[in-house]
Amino acid sequence: MKKVDKLPIGPEWKCNIIQVTGDRLDDDGNAMTEQLELWHRDPVECVKALIGNPAFKDFISYVPERVYTDNEGKVRVFDEMWTGTWWWDTQVWLFKRDKQKTDFYLVEVTKRCHHRPTHSFLR
């Protein structure tokens, strides 16, 4: 266990104590309270750990995409998160807001064409 604890760890855990004061009174006429423990980690650190993990290197996308099955862009594909409209719209919004600060690669736009066979059977 000691050796395990010496290994580098992921995002650290923190504990916040939350004191809740209720509206009921105890026998002495004081408001009753309850103490709660909130164990959590910093979500920013969590994202750092995820996005920087080399194990995911080949499975990560950094830019939104609009994917079509045809060359004219008539049939759009929706599968991964980055092919949806939310990411695209959010990226455009960010770019418009921070024109000065943001480098252009953030809104790099790719339009890929996939030529894949279509099957329509289900199971």
């Binding site: 266990m1 290994l7 009921r24 920013v44 008539k74």
Partner: protein, 512 residues
């Protein structure tokens, strides 16, 4: 409370073993005995938002200014963290949206209009916050009641940048479709129209067929409805209703089943989304048959309403397998149940966190070692190019041998058809045919192949134009019981390789 990022492919996010989803916190379970019963639930909602605020407060800055992060490919990027999707069950969605549970967390639909196919106005963050503030100041705006808000004055999402929380709620196929629309409603309607006995009888009377579950005792006695049971029943329900219910009701059944299947596709296109919309329309066009038959009086059903938001959701966030509730439930087993078991059950949260930290440390070390190993390997390879080339050649030759042998075995009796075959389609047969030297009459008797000779001739002519072989009654044939074909990958269903098993056994009448 779990967290993941949309940058990672959904294929990885789905597998718990890849650790692509991180536990960010254990929310406390409070008894709240210090509150009187009347205020307890509302205080619980407020407490939840308070805890969530404490965890996610740092996202306000990280979403506005951005944080520089080292990415997996070695580049440093300025990353803006924005809450995009919130995967939760219905009560939790209402809790987050600060709305009553007879409302929709996404839109402002009136509780009595939830059966309508018309889309209502979506909830708006600023409007909601304004109403909450007014209510807190004692102004009591009528709109507050109208859209069914709860008096939670500091929702955790209030300051999160670019986060339209009401659009973050994702569709939940397991609870809304399989358990909700299918089991709680569709199966109920069928039972009421056909009667429990008839429905059971028809389930029993289904032929047993490989790949389909045969419900020997019908379905009314099923007590454990797991996801698998739902999926098995969905496969046969349509066939079971034919002839026992009015044809318009069959349209209802079919459109809902189609909707359930289509929404599970792992690859959507504009076309499949149109089909989804069509299914929904067919359902709404014909659902009045259920009222006509006095089965229901109205359709104010939260789950029937929820499915009108599916198309929108897939449009925004990609296909629904990227955010279904089955994967977090699987994670829950590891992160909560296993961790709890490892503790001494007193002050367990701290121990659970430590347990998890240790497990993660070991996993980190493991993936680091794998990474090092790969690096070492590629370094060795780079320094010795010659050896690598030879190895590759060897490999190629070997592969060719395998493909050729396969073809020889399966098609030796027909001759050289190698050019015609698509080499990607692989199949396997038993080593030696279990039935040998059968006459055509025997084939018909054993396998019910009434049109065998004409069909074989057609097949031979189309596969081998110019062939001299004409099968006749005097020929004898070897027969296999089954052939397993590996199907070409289908992007709608993800990347797994499916095997299709074609069996030759004729149908056997069911005992029921």
């Amino acid at each position: 409370m779990y967290l993941t990022i949309g940058n990672i492919s959904k294929k990885l996010r789905r597998q718990p073993s890849t650790h692509a989803t991180i536990l960010v916190g254990y929310l406390p379970v409070a008894k709240l005995d210090c509150y009187s019963e009347a205020t307890r639930s509302l205080q619980g909602y407020r407490l939840f938002h308070h805890c969530m605020y404490m965890i996610f407060e740092c996202l306000i800055k990280a979403g506005t200014k951005g944080v520089e992060m080292v990415c997996a490919d070695g580049w440093i990027r300025l990353v803006y963290l924005i809450l995009a999707a919130y995967v939760a069950d219905f009560p939790e969605q209402c809790l987050v949206a600060c709305c009553m549970e007879n409302r929709c967390p996404r839109c402002t639909v009136n509780p009595t209009d939830r059966g309508s196919p018309l889309a209502s106005r979506l909830r708006d963050k600023n409007e909601t916050l304004e109403l909450l503030t007014k209510h807190q100041q004692g102004k009591d705006p009528p709109q507050f009641e109208k859209i069914g808000l709860r008096a939670v004055y500091k929702p955790f999402w209030a300051e999160l940048p670019h986060c339209e929380i009401f659009r973050c709620f994702t569709s939940d196929i397991l609870h809304q479709l399989h358990k909700g629309v299918f089991k709680d409603h569709l199966v109920q309607w069928c039972t009421q129209i056909m009667g429990e006995k008839e429905l059971d009888k028809r389930f029993k009377a289904m032929n047993s067929y490989p790949g389909l579950r045969h419900f020997k005792k019908g379905i009314s006695s099923v007590t454990q409805w797991t996801g698998t049971e739902h999926k098995e029943m969905e496969k046969v329900l349509l066939g079971i209703t034919i002839g026992a219910v009015p044809s318009r009701f069959i349209l209802v059944v079919r459109s809902l089943l189609d909707f359930i299947y289509l929404s599970q596709l792992q690859y959507h296109t504009t076309t499949t989304m149109k089909s989804l919309e069509t299914c929904l329309k067919t359902f709404h066009d014909h659902k009045d048959i259920i009222i006509e038959r006095n089965i229901r009086e109205h359709f104010n059903i939260p789950k029937v309403h929820a499915i009108i938001h599916y198309v929108d959701c897939i449009h925004s966030f990609g296909s629904a397998d990227g955010y279904n509730t089955e994967s977090p439930e699987r994670l829950h087993i590891e992160f909560a149940k296993d961790a709890y078991r490892a503790s001494n059950k007193r002050d367990y949260v701290e121990q659970m966190a430590l347990w998890l930290q240790r497990h993660e440390a070991m996993w980190l070390r493991e993936s680091f070692l794998i990474w090092m190993e790969n690096r070492l390997e590629s370094m060795i390879k780079a320094s010795d190019v010659n050896t690598m080339d030879e190895e590759e050649e060897d490999h190629d030759v070997h592969l060719q041998v395998v493909t050729q042998r396969d073809i020889n075995i399966t098609h030796s009796h027909i001759g050289d058809t190698r050019d015609k075959l698509n080499l990607n389609v692989r199949y396997s047969l038993a080593k030696s045919p279990p039935h040998q030297n059968l006459m055509v009459e025997k084939l018909t008797e054993k396998f019910g192949t009434t049109n065998f000779l004409p069909a074989l001739s057609t097949f031979l002519r189309s596969t081998l134009p110019g062939t001299m072989i004409t099968p006749s009654n005097r020929d004898r044939f070897d027969a296999y019981k089954q052939v397993v074909i590996s199907l070409p990958s289908n992007q709608y269903l993800g990347e797994r390789i499916d095997m299709d098993r074609v069996r030759t056994s004729p149908s056997v009448n069911a005992s029921g």
